[in-house]
């Protein structure tokens, strides 16, 4: 039997979590009543979900690869948001006119600046705080928590303690009208950027050697080292990339909220923990599904029962954990 004649079969992915996502979205339609507000809420949910995914993806890979849980990951979100305030203020001649191309360019410059600074601080954060505590979870939690506090205070020293406004550039203000549904322009932009980052991430993880290394490292670190790769340096790279992504997410989150405070990191920190738990530690796909679930649920309950919105995340987390204690896509720990 020649080699070519050997038939090749194609694998199948676990569909259930995706079905849960569809069920949540469609289930909300009858409850919301009108299709137009459902569309608005869904887009808002997707936008929020995308931003949370961008931020949480770094955290889940860092944990998956080196068993390091960074309780201070949120500080890079605050950093990104504050960098955006400075950059966009500096580029006011690009953001004030209703010229979409210039506005988007200004935001991209802000994003690049935020990612660069977050990456640099991320490297220092890893070197000073994370490296001495490998393998000791309690110390990691305490030290990275301390790192969060130090980060927040340093931000206050540089940008001052008061909240800063982060106005949307002119062209991204207001809403698009689709039929009778009004969809905010910025949210569509956020979803677009989110999809871009997602595409880049999926391409890296599935199509490049680096991506294979990360996914394999999450599975069996010793075996990857036995094949000749230095996982420790790979990890530092992933940690820095994760911090940069959090910085990018910070810019988008700051624009989404339109005001920026140093505590922004701590608030979002809790949100991304829920997403990472729900999705399954170390799983990028799980992180995406988890983020979209949280985003959609938060917006739907915000509309239907604002009082309960606070608890919607907790309920989702408990529900998923009862169904799958290791999250939607548990990464097979050898």
């Amino acid at each position: 039997m020649t080699v070519a004649a050997v038939p090749m079969t194609v694998p199948r992915r676990d569909p259930w979590p995706l079905a849960l996502l569809a069920a949540l979205a469609l289930g909300a339609l009858p409850l919301v009543g009108s299709v137009s507000s459902w569309v608005t809420l869904s887009v808002a949910g997707l936008a929020m979900g995308m931003i949370v995914f961008i931020v949480a993806s770094g955290l889940t890979l860092v944990f998956g690869l080196m068993d390091v849980l960074n309780f201070g990951h949120g500080v890079f979100i605050a950093l990104g948001a504050f960098v955006a305030t400075s950059v966009l203020a500096g580029l006011s001649d690009w953001t004030s006119p209703a010229d979409l191309a210039r506005n988007v360019a200004a935001i991209f410059v802000a994003m690049l600046a935020a990612m660069a600074l977050a990456a640099a601080i991320g490297a220092a954060f890893e070197r000073l705080l994370v490296r001495p505590a490998y393998g000791q979870h309690l110390k990691q939690i305490l030290v990275t928590m301390g790192g969060m506090v130090i980060g927040e205070e340093l931000i206050k020293v540089v940008w001052g303690p008061a909240p800063l406004p982060l106005p949307l550039p002119e062209a991204l203000r207001g809403a698009l009208v689709l039929g009778d549904a009004a969809v905010e322009k910025y949210r569509v932009f956020a979803v677009a950027v989110g999809l871009l980052v997602l595409a880049a991430m999926l391409y890296t993880l599935n199509r490049t050697k680096l991506g294979l290394l990360i996914r394999a490292g999450v599975q069996d670190r010793e075996m990857v080292e036995s094949l000749g790769y230095r996982v420790r340096t790979l990890f530092v790279g992933v940690f820095v990339a994760g911090s940069a992504l959090a910085g990018l997410g910070g810019v988008l989150w700051g624009l989404y909220q339109q005001t920026v405070t140093a505590q922004i990191g701590a608030q979002v920190n809790v949100l991304i923990f829920i997403v990472v738990i729900v999705g399954g530690l170390g799983s990028t796909l799980g992180c995406l599904v988890g983020a979209l679930l949280v985003g959609l649920l938060a917006n739907y309950t915000g509309f239907l029962a604002p009082q309960l919105a606070v608890f919607s995340n907790i309920a989702l987390m408990i529900g998923v954990l009862l169904w799958r204690p290791l999250g939607l896509y548990p990464v097979g720990r050898r």
Binding site: P11, K209, L212, A216, L227, G228
Partner: protein, 246 residues
């Protein structure tokens, strides 16, 4: 004896927490030959391989590969010298496809096309199942197929020494025979192999030199053929013989 051995262990001790496992292992692996490491379970066979690969630090003694000391190096650097390691639990990346497992094992290749086509075809001839499940996540393969993938990963790029830990463990007899055939073809290419095994049939079929390890010490060194003919020696060293120390 031929030129200096490719791999030499002298007085190697290891500790795992409070456990003292290797009590001064001396071992030589000549180039171009298959050396089999036999011994009862718990004797320290797996620990010996893990110590060579640097996964378990040696607390004393020296390990040299092609004249270069290994015991101070980190695992990735040891692997880069040309050592391949097939662990007892095969170390398969379950979530990655067969194709991705192999691509990862080829350190020099950034894309599949860069892997030496001849070697890939040779692998498919040895292990046709890998072609069938080429796109499947490796986790869904059967035990035997996983073992084949683990060995294939060690062959995807030229390696000077293969450390293989109990490939026959948990496999059905037919698959073990198949595996022996595959490793025999590999042996024909004069690849140096350090094979840890409990299955005496496989050891006898493949081994040139043999070392028997017991309680963390090499207690017998010699040629496989000689041991294969001497049933009494086999029982004393390996079987349920009632002799042996407290």
């Amino acid at each position: 004896m031929s030129a200096a051995p490719l791999l030499r262990l002298a007085g190697v001790h290891t500790h795992l927490g409070a456990f003292h496992i290797l009590h001064g292992v001396d071992l030589e692996v000549p180039e171009g030959e298959v050396t089999v490491l036999l011994g009862r379970n718990g004797a320290g066979k797996t620990t010996t391989l893990r110590t060579i690969m640097g996964l378990t630090p040696a607390s004393a003694g020296t390990i040299s590969f092609d004249g270069q000391p290994l015991q101070a190096r980190a695992t990735p650097d040891i692997a880069r010298l040309g050592l391949a390691y097939v662990p007892e639990n095969m170390g398969i990346f379950g979530d990655l496809s067969v194709r991705e497992n192999l691509l990862l094992a080829a350190r020099g290749a950034r894309r599949l096309e860069q892997i030496d086509a001849k070697r890939l075809d040779a692998i498919f001839v040895l292990f046709p199942a890998l072609k069938t499940f080429w796109l499947h996540p490796a986790g869904t393969l059967s035990g035997g197929q996983k073992q084949m993938l683990a060995i294939a990963r060690a062959l995807v790029e030229p390696r000077r020494l293969l450390l293989v830990d109990e490939p026959s463990k948990g496999l059905a007899p037919a698959i073990v025979a198949n595996l022996i055939g595959a490793l025999r073809d590999l042996k024909a290419t004069r690849t140096t192999l350090l094979l840890v095994e409990q299955n005496f049939a496989m050891a006898r079929a493949l081994g040139d030199g043999v070392a028997v390890i017991d309680d963390g010490r090499v207690v017998h060194r010699g040629r496989m053929a000689a041991l294969a003919d001497d049933a009494a020696l086999q029982h004393r060293l390996l079987g349920l013989s009632l002799g042996g120390r407290a």
